[in-house]
Structures are given as structure tokens and as C-alpha cells.
Symmetry: C2
Subunit: 259 residues, 2 copies
Amino acid sequence: MSRYTTQQSTHCQHCATTGICLNQTKNQSGLAPSPAPRAHKVYHKSDCLVRAGATFDAIYILRSGSAKSTILASSGEEQITSFYYPGDLIGLDGFENSRHVNSVHFLETSSVCRINLQELDNAMASSPSIRFKILQGMSHILNDEDRFLLSINNMNSTQRFADFLLDLSAKFEKRGLSSDLFDLSMTRIDIANYLGMAIETVSRLLTQFQRECVLEVDRRRIRIIDSQKLKLYLTNQEPTAHLFTNKVTNNQGEQTQVV
Amino acid sequence: MSRYTTQQSTHCQHCATTGICLNQTKNQSGLAPSPAPRAHKVYHKSDCLVRAGATFDAIYILRSGSAKSTILASSGEEQITSFYYPGDLIGLDGFENSRHVNSVHFLETSSVCRINLQELDNAMASSPSIRFKILQGMSHILNDEDRFLLSINNMNSTQRFADFLLDLSAKFEKRGLSSDLFDLSMTRIDIANYLGMAIETVSRLLTQFQRECVLEVDRRRIRIIDSQKLKLYLTNQEPTAHLFTNKVTNNQGEQTQVV
DNA sequence: CGTTCATTTGAACATGCTCAATTCCTGTGG
DNA sequence: CCACAGGAATTGAGCATGTTCAAATGAACG
């Protein structure tokens, strides 16, 4: 793996934009134990950044490219837990047991910024803004997973897939890229694994969306033609399905007004 | 809501056992801006601790009882994202946007320790161990959700329900309670919502497990009779007894081993 | 007691999976 | 440059898991 990696010595601009660039803060606070600008490594497709079970000694910020993290079931099956895009924090799962729970693999040529734990702790001790940014980053991941949970438990495969595409679209837009024309960096197999469906279902949904003039699909390239219609798939509940949910809502509704 | 709450002025022993009691540390470090021992409030069943959308100004440690957090789908449906037990951190979802994403409701009479953000930040600034404990707590939640994701995407309802029961059992044991005799503090509706299945399925699974002499069920009270057999359901990809097909029952507890 | 909510149980149905066959794409070697 | 292999993706058909609908029972509570 190391033969694939190179070192660069430019300043960590991308990290800075996310507000978590530890170099900057260390300079500001005058600590700067290592005066050199942060080094970042370049990895290639299917390279491994972190292996489950490995000692937790650093976190990473993705600078460019994309990655996925996976956990291993006792049965031996893998489950993708997250896809990462530039600016995302990677490796935060390690705090629990000082070992990584997820493995992280790159989906394409990518580069990351490595921040070892001592560095991180120093920064958190000295900078309120770093403290906040790290907590914010973890909170963001948490909320993302909660939303994902929601989609898995309450949506059918059509809705889930539409949600996935809109999510991707929003992520690209947030990073200054086109929100309606982008390349998937993951295979259909990865998508199916992530969304908890069969690859055949993913394939059929792509075909369906294309047939209904919502998307244009060319291999990994996706063009969203009608994002309004795509959003409709999210709310379009199947004709029925109300009894169970009504009960839940009523159960919750009581708390709003208690005489 | 406030009429349900009372104040107590004992020292925060429960928090101390979790290692995140901020009072202790503040005493150690001599900061102690508020010299009074930490107050904790008592809430009752279905009381609301945190409402989604509310300003994020504190986190909480659950001292006793249990709670659930829920997020709201755009469609209006609620999804339970987590159940909380004593020692758990509550409210960490607020860091992302300075607003809470989840609502938190109590499932029974419970008490919490409130730690406002300024307090938390002070403690994190001064104490490396607090810094670590908070990150560890968030990491734990993250990993929990990842594992849950795995179970939802890769397990059928029987496996998921067995997993849920074993999880609960482990949580009670970790807190010094009986691992094989406990009361569910949530309704079947909550369980079904959390696990992403219909309440009828939950009911049928309870009946099945009882029929197969794995559990004894009496309303909310669960006794795990054969935890070994319960664990087998996790790995047994092949369903041993079909739940929904008109069963050709072997009227004794022995189920047909397909392995 | 009567009302209401939680739970159980049965039967029909449907969403999405499995299995199977085919096509498409990419890289490789002759 | 083409043939070929192997993985990725597509498409079809049957079927199983778990949902939905419906009804009955049980428990809690005023």
C-alpha cells in the first residue's frame, strides 16, 4: 500500500475551509510543536486507509476523492456504514475502544490529512473552536446516521433510492460541484449494500427512473433531469399504510397539550 | 412539564461511575463556578426532555429510568433512533446546528443530570479525561448505530428481534441488573418502530420465542430462559421455524435444526 | 361497567429477493 | 486489432418474508 502513497508539503487549504484545520490553530496559539505544514497522502482506488481492529492513533480529514467505511458482521458479511466526501472526518469510531471498528477504503484516487491523537488533543485543549468543530463533526455524522435509519425503516426501496440520489446531489452542491450531473464513485454493489437492497433492485430503479424521465444514466454518470419529480418519490407513500403510523403519532401527540 | 419535575441536591454519584461527572472534575481542578452540588431533575412517563428544533443549550446524563429519542420524517412519521439507560449521554445531536434534531421522551419515571454547554466546554478545556470521555461517549453512540445499521440491512426480523433482546440483556447486566429477567420500558409499538417492523410481527416473534421455550413473556416482563438458543437465532441464516406459513408445528420445544 | 388502548391472532396480499440468463464493459494477451 | 475472460449491470419469473387488513381479547382506568 505504501508504494501507492506520496507526500506533499502544501498547506492544508481544504481542511481550513472546513474549519477543522489543526495546523492553523496551532500556529495561532503559538504551540506549533512541528513547524512543518501538514503533510497529506495520496491513495488510490480500493486502497485501505484504516483496517477494523487496528490501533486507533489518528483521525483523518478527506481532502479529495471519496471513501467508504465498512463493518464486519459476525457472519462475515460486510456492511457499508458511510460514504465520505472532501471535508469529512474519518476514523472517529476509534474513540470507544482505542481500536477502529470500521475499515475505510477509497473509491477513487484520493488524499487525506492525518491528525494524530496527541495533536488532536493538544488542539482541543487550547482551542474552543476546535473543540466545537470536532463535536460538531461527530454530531453531524450521528444525525446523518439517524436520518438514514429513518429512511431505512420508513421508506420503501423507491423512496430510499430517491433519497440516496438527492443526498448525493446535495453533497456535491455543498462542495461547489454540479448538483444535477455527477459520477457515482461507488459500484451498484456498494449502493445496494449501503441501502440494504439487492443489486437487481438498484438496477431496476435506475431503469425505472430513466424510463420516467427523472434521470439520465450512463454507467456511473448520473444526470438529474427532473429533481422535482425525484423529490416526489420521497413523499409519495403507497396508497395505504396509515393505521400503524397514526397510532404512533397519537401516542406522541399527547405530550403537546396536557391539560 | 415543569410541574412534573422536582429538584434534588445530592451529589451526582451515578454520573461519577460513568466517568463523565463534571462536578467532580471541576472540584478537582478548583474551578467550581457554581459551588452547589449538581442538581438533577425527576421526570415521569412520557415527559419531554428535549424537543426537536429547540435551542441546544445543554447535554444530559441519564441517572435512572429510561428514555427514547425520535426524529421526525418530512412525511410526519416518527422514527425512534435510540433508547437510553442510566449513564447514557443524551442530547449530543445538538452540536451540528445548535438545535436539537431529536426529541427525547421518558419511558418511565427517570432522573437526569443537566450539564449546560458552557460548563461542558469549561470542563473539556481543563480536563483531558473529560475530553476523552465525551469523545468516547459519542464514538460509542456512533458504533452502536453502525451495528444497528448492520442488523437492519443484513438480518431478517427474527434475527433482529433476537439481537434486540440480547442487546437489552447486555445493557442491564452492564448496569448490575439481572440479564435474564427484566421489564421492557417501551411498548411493542416502540419496539416495532425502532426495529422497523410491524407490531404484529413483534407480537408473533414473542409468541414464537415463548413457544420454543426461549423466553417467558408476561406483558412487559421478559425472562430469558435459554440465552444460548436465543443467540443461535442471530447466526442461523436459515429460519428454523417459519413464522408466517401455516406452521406444521412440532408441539414440543425442540425446533428442527437445519444446520 | 364502559371506554380506550395495547396486544394477539388469522388470512390475504405485495414488495423486493433469489435464481437464472443475457448483455455490456474493461482490460489483457495473442 | 481482435478475441476472450471476468466482472458489472440488466432483465425476467417465481416465490418468501413480512406487511396490511380485520377481528377478537386483554388490561388499565375513570
